[in-house]
């Protein structure tokens, strides 16, 4: 990197750097003390835990208050004007099409202030190879389009829970979004696609994990059929990866962890744990596999468990004996 003159001077000047850092801390204090943010925090404290409607109602009141968003933007803008090297004291969250700052990060509600550029959207479409998806994010959320950027959105929905993949998703409507529009979206059943945008879209996105779907669901944009999903539970995904690692390391002493994971509330996690357990120690896993084939609440898990029993543990399969590997 070759710094410009201003950056080179700032990098040489410890005092200027200290002032920049101090401004960042001052901004953090002022932001948390802003009345709309403080009020939102108070309301969230009082909202019943786990009730998505009540939690999102707190968020919606913030978005409906004309000065709430403005006061946050003005505060960040005032610090940026004073110091060229000011960085907002907020986590930076960016994706392929958006750049954002996490204004609020509470267990029951997150609030992202973001900009999505039409160029990034166009590029994403242009460089895409192969089939594409319409996503159903799984969580309930509220958007406020501070600047709509002349965007046209098409809205999609599923007839049942999107993550169960019953039937196809269907087109609902296509319409232009207005500046200042507030939009509620139930990501368990509803999704949207940005069909067109003329300028930057500046928006606030509030989302709650309360009552969210276990999966982010994807439907093919051409056939409109369900093609799969990804876990909406980050901690659970990490647990599953750890089980795979323990199995690769042949850690038989970790068997209790595999048994614990068989009790996951997520159907896909239970089967993942069972596959790993069978690949670690089938003697220990077998009684649980039989229970799973008989009584797992999810039909796909029961079918997979029954197929495994038939393939590897029927009289004929045991006679062949070539499928089992002795790791001892």
């Amino acid at each position: 990197m070759i710094p410009g003159n201003a950056l080179a001077e700032w990098l040489e000047n410890r005092r200027e750097q200290a002032l920049t850092n101090a401004a960042r801390e001052e901004c953090r204090r002022e932001l948390s003390g802003l009345e709309p943010i403080a009020r939102l925090n108070r309301e969230l404290d009082a909202a019943p835990a786990g009730e998505a409607e009540a939690i999102l109602a707190c968020g919606r009141r913030f978005l409906e208050e004309p000065n709430a968003t403005r006061s946050c933007l003005d505060l960040l803008g005032s610090f940026a004007k004073k110091d060229f090297f000011f960085r907002p004291p907020l986590p930076n969250l960016s994706g392929e099409v958006h750049t954002g700052l996490l204004l609020l990060d509470r267990p029951q509600l997150t609030m992202l202030l973001a900009v999505a550029s039409p160029d990034a959207l166009a590029t994403k479409r242009k460089i895409r190879r192969g089939p594409a998806s319409i996503a159903f994010a799984g969580a309930r959320s509220v958007y406020k389009f501070v600047k709509a950027g002349g965007a046209t959105l098409s809205f999609w929905e599923t007839s049942g829970p999107a993550w169960e993949g019953r039937g196809r998703c269907r087109f609902v409507e296509r319409r232009a979004i207005e500046d200042g529009e507030i939009l509620g979206l139930d990501g368990r059943y509803q999704g949207f696609v940005v069909d067109h945008a003329e300028g930057d879209m500046v928006y606030i996105h509030m989302s709650t994990p309360a009552g969210a779907a276990p999966l982010v669901a994807e439907y093919d944009s051409d056939s409109l059929e369900f093609i799969g999903g990804s876990s909406a539970d980050e901690a659970n995904s990490r647990t599953l990866m750890m089980l795979s690692l323990l199995r690769l390391m042949k850690r038989g002493d970790a068997a209790p962890l595999f048994r614990e994971a068989l009790g996951s509330s997520h159907f896909y996690a239970r089967w993942h744990a069972m596959r790993e357990y069978l690949a670690l120690d089938l003697t220990l896993a077998l009684p649980h596999l039989r229970e799973m084939a008989q009584g797992d609440p999810h039909p796909e898990v029961r079918v997979a468990a029954a197929r495994t029993l038939e393939t590897f543990f029927s009289g004929e399969a045991l006679g062949r004996g070539e499928e089992l590997e002795c790791l001892a």
């Binding site: 994706g95 089939p131 690949a279």
Partner: protein
């Protein structure tokens, strides 16, 4: 310990990726405009 080659075990009909993964590129909408907490860069 006896074990089964994991690649020979059946998968579920519903394909489920890990958190933050996608099967296909999204057209550009609610999925790519929301927060992926795993991507927090500080």
């Amino acid at each position: 310990m006896k074990a089964i080659d994991i690649n020979k075990l059946p998968e579920l009909a519903t394909r489920v990726g890990i958190h933050g993964s996608v099967q296909q590129k999204e057209v550009g909408g609610s999925g790519c405009m929301v927060i992926v907490i795993a991507a927090i860069s500080g």
